[in-house]
Amino acid sequence: MAARPLSLQTRSLLAAGFALAAFLGLTGIALDAAIYETLSSALRDRLQSYVYAIIATSDVARSRHWLPPEVYPDPRFNQPGGTLFAGVVGPVDTNNGEAKSWRSTSALGAQLPFDAMVSPGEARFVGPVDGAGGKIYMLSQGVSWIVPHRDPVNLTIHVAEDARLLDAQRDVFRRTLWTYLGGLGVVLLALLLFTLRWSLRPLRRVADDLARVERGERERLAGAYPSELAGFASNLNDFIDSEREHLQRYRNTLSDLAHSLKTPLAVIRSELESGSEGEKLRWSVLEQAGRMDQIVAYQLSRAATSGHTTFAAPIRIGLHAEEVVASLEKVYASRNILCEFEIDEHARFYGEQGDLLEILGNLLENAFKWAQHRVLLSAHALPHVGLRRAGLMLIVEDDGPGIQAEKVEHLLQRGARGDERVQGHGIGLAIVQELLKAYRGTLEVSRSEALGGAAFTLRLGAG
């Protein structure tokens, strides 16, 4: 057995979940990148301001040596093993003499990449790079210090900060960001689940109702459904009704068959038991056999009637009528009957093809039997009401003797009973009536205005 496909709810949740995860994830990544940019640019600005402060608080001696500042712009430069470092490369004047470089108190003994020279006027920001036993962000500024009446002194000032400070800020931000995004995702999914269950509830109700119908607790789908499901439910109801009618018809047919066969059987039995023999018995049995044959033929055709119209595809009348007439013209070739058509282009039969053939065949055959020279078949589409399908009117006329008005009712009743041997418009008419019952149509027998004989008018309702 193939695996059961995922439920609609699971599908929607999965799809929405993936979309949400992708959306929130990308948002998070973008925000994270943005905040890193902000943080590192703020750090650079801060380091730059330290550089300016160091330049402002220092000086160059007449010996063209740089004099370190007496006070640092930030006390952290003064803490050995601290997190903020400064260094200068160039001719430096120290208290003890002259040197080629200088370092702040915090930078003494720390491993820092403070040896490079940068050309004057250039500021270079790098990080995170190795330094001070971990990672640092570093700004290197090249300076050309102007000394009056002498060549300028070229210096490079390095300021660095431990990367952990920025990382810590970033971590705090990240935690907050992802907490909020996660929370948002959960809330959205819950909301989605709720709306999904709410909008799928009518479908569940249809399924439940259908299960109830199946269990026999209900006759049909009751209750009001949303407009999207109303059509479906009403079609389903029609289907259920037609199935039920079908079943009912089978039951009736079976019981009618059994009951109506009992009479001829009883006649035969009584003939046998009463000791009749010879020609009399033979005729009696023959007669009853004929009667049983009629009964079986009638009930058989009744049971085979489909009558399903709900999902039936429309069938054009013309082609099938031509087939039937071609057949009849062959069978009744010696009668030289002319059959004319008057078929509306839009006329459609909604039902089984076999049923249409049965209706046309039986009515036209009767017409061929009774007609002198002419038979007329007309089919018209009846105007449809609203969204329902157009109805159909079929008229079969002949130029035969016709049927007297007072005999019409008798004829139709006889057809409806169908269990006795009838002459002329016999079992065929009974079959047509049975079919019309299944398709909820009507049959009217009158005199043909065009041809003068009998006219059979069928109306199959819209919808």
Binding site: A289, A297, A304, S334, G354, L357, E358, G361, W370, Q423
Partner: protein
């Protein structure tokens, strides 16, 4: 008349064959579609009766195959279901008439006669050539309104000749269409029948209805009368 009967149900096949023979038909029977097709290809039949529900090859297929093989004799189909879908389908395949089971044998015989008549261009159930009138329904022959007393075989020979009035009918044709397969074709029984027919129909030897075409066969020489205007409608029912 030579008839092909294809029916798989033994009791029906046998009673029908017996009844048809009694009525003067030469009958060939087949129990399934394949046998029916074989016979239908080999033998020139006047009419065929084919059941739709056959083993090996369905009646519908058999009809289509027979028509494709050039068999032009009229075909009557027997069907148990009797739905119009079947009837229309069968007639479209090439059948000419249908009968729904169970049926009255008389009905079948009447239909067969009508089919044979129609196939040879007669529209009425009575064949009229000059003063000779053959009523196919009552199987009575009259000459100048006087009934002629014919035996069953004489009647069959005359019916075949009159159906093909004006056409040359070879001895072989006549033998094949009138007698069973096992009939001794070399005997001169046919000539005896023709001789007797001539005497009974034309004792004065003035009409000369049956012409002998030396070495080739016979011809019914009196032309067909203009067929009476309109055939009466068949019995309703």
């Amino acid at each position: 008349m030579r008839v092909l009967l294809v029916e798989d149900e033994a009791p029906l096949r046998e009673t029908l064959a017996a009844r048809l023979k009694r009525d003067g038909f030469a009958v060939d029977t087949a129990v399934d579609g394949e046998e029916g097709l074989y016979l239908g290809r080999e033998v020139p039949f006047d009419v065929a009766i084919i059941d739709l529900g056959l083993p090996k090859m369905s009646g519908m297929e058999l009809i289509a195959e027979l028509r494709a093989a050039g068999q032009r004799c009229p075909i009557l189909i027997l069907t148990a279901r009797g739905s119009w879908q079947d009837k229309v389908q069968g007639l479209k395949q090439g059948a000419d008439d249908y009968l729904v089971k169970p049926f009255h044998v008389e009905e079948l015989l009447a239909r067969l006669n009508a089919l044979v008549r129609r196939a040879s261009g007669w529209t009425t159930p009575t064949l009229e050539c000059g003063p000779i009138v053959l009523d196919t329904t009552a199987q009575i022959v009259t000459v100048n309104d006087q009934p002629a007393d014919l035996t069953s075989y004489e009647y069959k020979v005359l019916e075949y000749l009159m159906l093909h009035a004006g056409e040359l009918v070879s001895k072989a044709d006549l033998t094949e269409h009138i007698y069973q397969q096992d009939f001794d074709r070399d005997s001169n029984v046919l000539e005896v029948f023709i001789g007797r027919l001539r005497r009974k129909l034309d004792p004065e030897n003035t009409l000369k209805p049956i012409e002998t075409v030396r070495g080739r066969g016979y011809r019914f020489a009196i032309p067909r009368n203009e067929s009476s205007a309109d055939a009466p409608p068949p019995a309703q029912g």
